[in-house]
């Protein structure tokens, strides 16, 4: 019986690594402090492996075959993908994978009604490159990336994403070896609109409402009220990346999230935030 030792969610907008100096001094300070704190919490939990959940930005799956969830099964990952390197401004890196855990998720997921696709080759853009740069800058914790469909309708419903998270947590607890320490890291959001009319705007009201709901720890209410329609209204092109956070929410169960930081960072074209769900091992 393995243990989930940390569950976190955070924005991955490329401005955080690519042009943070364009943000105000206070935005820079608060985000850097928040991401440092989140990294400290994550590393302090001493995970053997991180399961990442994030939007695939139309980078890995051709239009004729879009999986809702694809588990990365490789033993080693590299990033950023070449075309994205100067955009995210993150030096090339390598991080180990964890094929055994990844294949457990795929195999056991199928038995639990989850049709995980899987792949040995996945290109990384801001989805992992930005979070890893801040949270695990030594790239020393193996990563099982789950690339999900957050922006190509029909999207997996919030209820389904929460259910997937619950299933992942169940598989870890029931199908992984005792002593294994697993962290879950969802990345994406908050409000942003790449490709839409709100490209240079952030919906702070939506973001704070969503973070407040997470802090209340009421998954049923979140599934009911944080609809895809509301996410798209807050920023059509990207806000539904919060579906990845719903997976983390499902794994977290009834725990109340703690907001580590939030900034409506118009300069980064994204509502930037990070939360952590307190786990027993940390309390």
């Amino acid at each position: 019986m393995a243990e989930i030792v940390a569950i976190v969610a955070l924005s991955h907008a490329p401005g955080l690594t690519g042009w943070l100096d364009r943000a105000s001094a206070s935005v820079q300070k608060n985000l850097l402090a928040g991401y440092a704190e989140l990294g400290r919490l994550l590393r302090q939990a001493k995970p053997d492996v991180i399961i990442g959940v994030a939007n695939d930005h139309l980078l890995n799956f051709p239009m004729h075959a879009i999986p809702d969830f694809c588990v990365g099964t490789a033993s080693r990952w590299t990033g950023p993908a070449p075309w994205f390197q100067d955009w995210v401004n993150v030096p090339p890196y390598q991080v180990a994978g964890h094929p055994d855990l990844a294949k457990t998720l795929v195999r056991e997921g199928a038995r639990e009604g989850v049709n995980f696709a899987f792949a040995d080759e996945l290109l990384f853009d801001d989805n992992w490159s930005v979070p890893l740069r801040y949270l695990t800058p030594d790239y020393d914790i193996p990563l099982v990336p789950i690339h999900m469909n957050c922006v190509i309708p029909p999207l997996p419903a919030p209820e389904r994403c929460v259910e997937i998270g619950r299933t992942i947590a169940e598989i870890i607890r029931m199908r992984r070896p005792a002593g294994e320490r697993v962290a879950i890291m969802a990345t994406g959001g908050l409000s942003h609109d790449p490709g839409g009319p709100k490209y240079f705007a952030v919906d702070e009201k939506f973001d704070r409402w969503f973070l407040d709901l997470l802090e209340q720890g009421n998954a049923e209410r979140i599934m009911r009220e944080v609809t895809i329609d509301k996410m798209l209204a807050a920023g059509d092109g990207g806000t539904s990346e919060l579906l990845a956070w719903m997976v983390a929410l499902g794994a977290a169960g009834p725990r109340k999230a703690r907001t580590i930081c939030y900034e409506p960072a118009v300069e980064l074209r994204c509502g930037m935030g990070a939360v952590a769900w307190p786990m027993e091992a940390q309390s």
Partner: protein, 101 residues
Amino acid sequence: MGIRDFDRTLASNRMIFEVRRDAGKLQRFHADLEATMAAYGLTDVEKAAWRNVDIHRLGELGVHPYFLPQVSRLIEGAAYNHNKSAAARLYAAKMKIAGEE
């Protein structure tokens, strides 16, 4: 225009998808747009929108919204993509939306 309105069968979507993933295809895209568009089977209206870098029109035709800022970066470069960068200003101008003041 929004993610619910895009046309996943549109040839331009396949072209953008592939050129970002493959250095050789990206080089050919920059070297010879006409040949690249022909190779992917773009329609005449798609080709006209590309020739004019008409990002808004590409969106109307069904290019995925997420690709639209990437079109501006394919044209103007992606580094240091802040709100007043050449790529961001191109996007704002073509989409007829206000950029950062």
